[in-house]
Amino acid sequence: MNRLSEFMLPPQKSTVAEGTDALFHFITTTSIILLIGITIAIIYFSWKYRRRSENDVTPVITHNSALEISWSVIPLILVMIVFGWGLRGYVNLTTVPDDAYEVRVVGKSWLWEFHYENGYVSVNELHVPVNRPVRLVMSSDDVLHSFYIPDFRVKMDVLPNRYTSLWFEATETGESVIFCTEYCGTAHSNMLATAYVHEQEDFETWLLTAGAADLDMDPIELGAELVSRNACQTCHSSDGSRLQGPTFLGLFGSERVMDNGERIIADENYIRESILDPNVKIVEGYLPVMPSYTGTLNDRQIDAIIAYLRTLQ
C-alpha cells in the first residue's frame, strides 16, 4: 500500500493529508475490486455463453428481485460511507483552528503575493512555520485563480471581489510546490510558487530579516533581486526574447511605439508608471495583462528596479 501510495499521491506534508489519502485509497481499492469482478464477469460470460449455433434458444429471465435489490442497496451503502467520510474530511478542511497564523494571499496574473502581518510582501514564496495552523486569506486582483498545494492536499479558488480562505498545518520542514489550478490566461502554467516550511524560530528570524536585508544591498543588486523575486521574469526576459511582455534588454532609454501609435521614450517616469499603473500605456503588439504593483513595491524598490534596468543595455 505504501508503494502504491507513493506512486499515486504526493508526499503527505500536512495534518489533513493522511485522512484524505485514506479515503482515496479506500475508494481506489473498492473500485478496483469491483472492476475486476465486472471484468471477469464480462470475459467469463463472453466465453461461456458464446454463440454455438444460429438457432440458440435463450431463457427468458426478465428480473430477479433479490439480485436487483442487493445491487441497488449495497452500492448505496458504499457511496453513503464515502459521502460521510468525505464530509468529515471536508469539515476538518474548513474548520480553522483559532490560533492559526494568518497570511494574506493576493493572486495576480500571473504571480502570487504573500503579505505578512509586519507588512513584508513576498512574491511567489510562501514562508510558514511548521506544526502551526496557518490560515491563508486570499483574493485576486483580476481574474479567477486557484491556490493549490498538492503536498498539503489543500485547494481554494481565489476570487476578484471576495475573500476566500484555506488553512493547513505543515508537519515537516522543507519546500512544496504551489500551483494555480484555475485557468487564468497565457502564463497560467507559469504561475508557480513555493511554500517554504521553517521551524518556528527560523520562521521568525526570516520574517524579521527578510525585509531588512534589502536595506544593505546596492540598488542595482537589489533591483536584480526584486526582478526575480517579484516574478517579473515570468513575462519579461532580460536576454531579448519575446514573452508575454516586452523584454527588459535595451528597454531603458529606447523609443517605444504604443498601441495607439504614440511614441514614448522609456524614461524613469514611464517605467514607474508601467509598474504602478501598467495598463495605461501598452506597447504595440502586446496585451494589457500586467497586474499593478501598487502596494507591493515601495519607492525605494522601484528606484532599485529602474537602476537595474539601466544596466541591461
Partner: protein, 579 residues
Amino acid sequence: MATNEEIKNRKRIQVRRFVPEEFPEKHYLNEEKGLWAWLTTVDHKKIGLMYLASIAFFFFIAGVLALLLRTELLTPARSFMDADVYNQVFTLHGAIMIFFFLVPSVPAVLGNFVLPLQLGAKDVAFPRLNLASFYIYVIGALFTFYAIASGGVDTGWTFYTPYSATTGGNVMAMTFGIFILGFSSILTGINFMVTIHKMRSPGITWSKLPLNLWGLYATSIIQILATPVLAITLLLLTMERLLGIGIFDPAMGGDPVLYQHFFWFYSHPAVYIMIVPGFGIISEVISSFSRKTIFGYWAIALSSLAIAFIGFLVWGHHMFTAGQSSLANMVFSFLTFLVGIPTGIKIFNWLATMYKGSIDMKTPMIYAMVFLFLFTIGGFTGIMLGALSVDIHLHDTYYVVAHFHYVMMGGMVMAFLAGLHYWWPKMFGKMYSEFWARISAALLFVGFNMTFLPQFVMGSQGMPRRYFNYIDQFQPFHQFSTLGAYIMGVAFVLMFGYLLHSLLKGERAKANPWGSRALEWQTTSPAPLHNFEHTPVIVNGPYDYHKPMSEFQLGIANSHNGHHHHEEVSAKRTETEQA
C-alpha cells in the same frame, strides 16, 4: 397512453408474418437523386446522415487538435507552439468536441436515423423542423469558424467570467455560435419527445418501447429543460462583453460564482445529454448480440429517467473549490452520490442480460464491452471526485481530465461507435470488414487506456489541467499519454479506411444481419423512403429473443401505410406522391 387512434386502428388490423425484401432496388438513398434533393430533404434518415458527415468532420478537427496538444506536451517547456496558441487549441478542442460532437452525436445522428424506424413511423413529428435544426447547427458552426478566423478563443470551453469577459479574441462570435447551436439541440429534443408520444405504431405501448428510445426520451427531457439555461447564460455573457452588464463580472460589481451556477446548471445535465442516449444503444446492442431478453427492462428504462432528473441537482460538484457555501457543497456532494446508483444498476442489468445468452462477439458487441469496462472506470473515478475532501485535492487536476475522458470518450464515444457499427448495414445496406473493425477496436482500446490511465496518476500527484508547461516529474507520464493518443489516431484512421471501403465496395447487407428482434431490422436494408411499405403492427416485444426468428411475429396493418386519407379524399394526389 394508447390513443383512440390506436384502438380504432387495431380493429382493422390483420396480423400477418411480415418478411422484408432482401437487397431492395429502390430505397431511401436512391429514391431521390442529386445534391439539391439531399440538402432540402425532410427525410429523417438523410438528415441523420448529413449530421453524421458533419459530426465526423468536427470529430476529425477536434481530434487533430487533441493530437497537437498531446504533441506539445511531450516536453515540459515549449515544444512547437506558444502558450497562447496552446490555450486556444485546448479551448477549441473542448468546445468543438462537446458542443459540435458529443451533444449532437447520438441524438442527432443515430437518434434521427433510428427513432422513427423503431417506432414504425414514417418520419419524426416535425420533419421540416428537423431539417431546420440541421441548418441551425450549420449556422452555429459557421459562427464558430468565424470566431476561430477572427482572433480565436482562449477561455476554455467553460467560458468562466471574468476571464471570458476581459480576454482578447472573438469570444462573442464563439458564444453566439454555441447559443445558436442550442436551438438545434432544443428542436431535436422537442421533435423526439413529440414523436415518441404521438407517432408510435399500433402495439408499441410504453412497455414495448425499445430501451434506445427510453434513452432518447430521457435525453430529450434534459435537452429541453437545460439547454435554454445555457442560452440565457451565453446571452448574458455576450451582453457582459458587449455592454458590461456586470451580473457576472466582478469588475462591475457582479459575481463570477453565479456565472458558474448558471453554466453548470446546463453543462452538468449536458454530460447526461451525451451519455444517456449511449446507454440506450448499449441496451440494444447487448440484447441483440446476446440473443436474450433484456434483464430488468423497467430498471433500465426508469434509471435513465432517474439519471435525467437527479442529474439536474448535482451541478455544484463542479464548484467545490469555487467559493460556494459549505452548505451547498455538502448538499451537492450528497446528491452526486445518488446519481451513481441508477448508473450502477444499468451496468449490473447489462451483465445479467449476457448471463446464459448466446453471445456473438461482433464489432458492435466488442464496443459495448469496451464501453462497459471504460465507463465503469469513469463511474468509479466519479465517485472519487464526488467525495468532498478528496475532490479538494483532485479538483482541476489531470484526474478530472482523465475521469471525463473515460466517461465521455470511453463511455459515449464507444457507445456511439457500437451504435454506428450496429446500424451501419441499415444505413447504407453494406457490411464492413469485421477483421479490420476488430483490429481498430483493439487499437482504440489499448491507445485509450495508454492515453488516460497515466493521467489519473499525474492528476492524483497534483498535475493541474490546462497547463502549457509542467514540472519535470510528470514528463514520463505525459510522453506515455501522447504515445497512446497517437495509437488512437491510427485506430481512427483505420476505421475511416474500412468504413469508406465498406461504402464503396462492401458486400451487401441483409435486411436483418444480426438476427435482431427490434423493429428497425424488420424493414429492408437500406430502408425505403417511408421506412416501411406498410404500417407495422407490433405483436412481440423488441427483446423477444426466446422465440426463434421463424415464430417472431410482426403484423402489418391492412391499409396502405397511413396514406389512406389521401386515397379516400384525393386519389390523384396519392398517385403523384408515389410517382
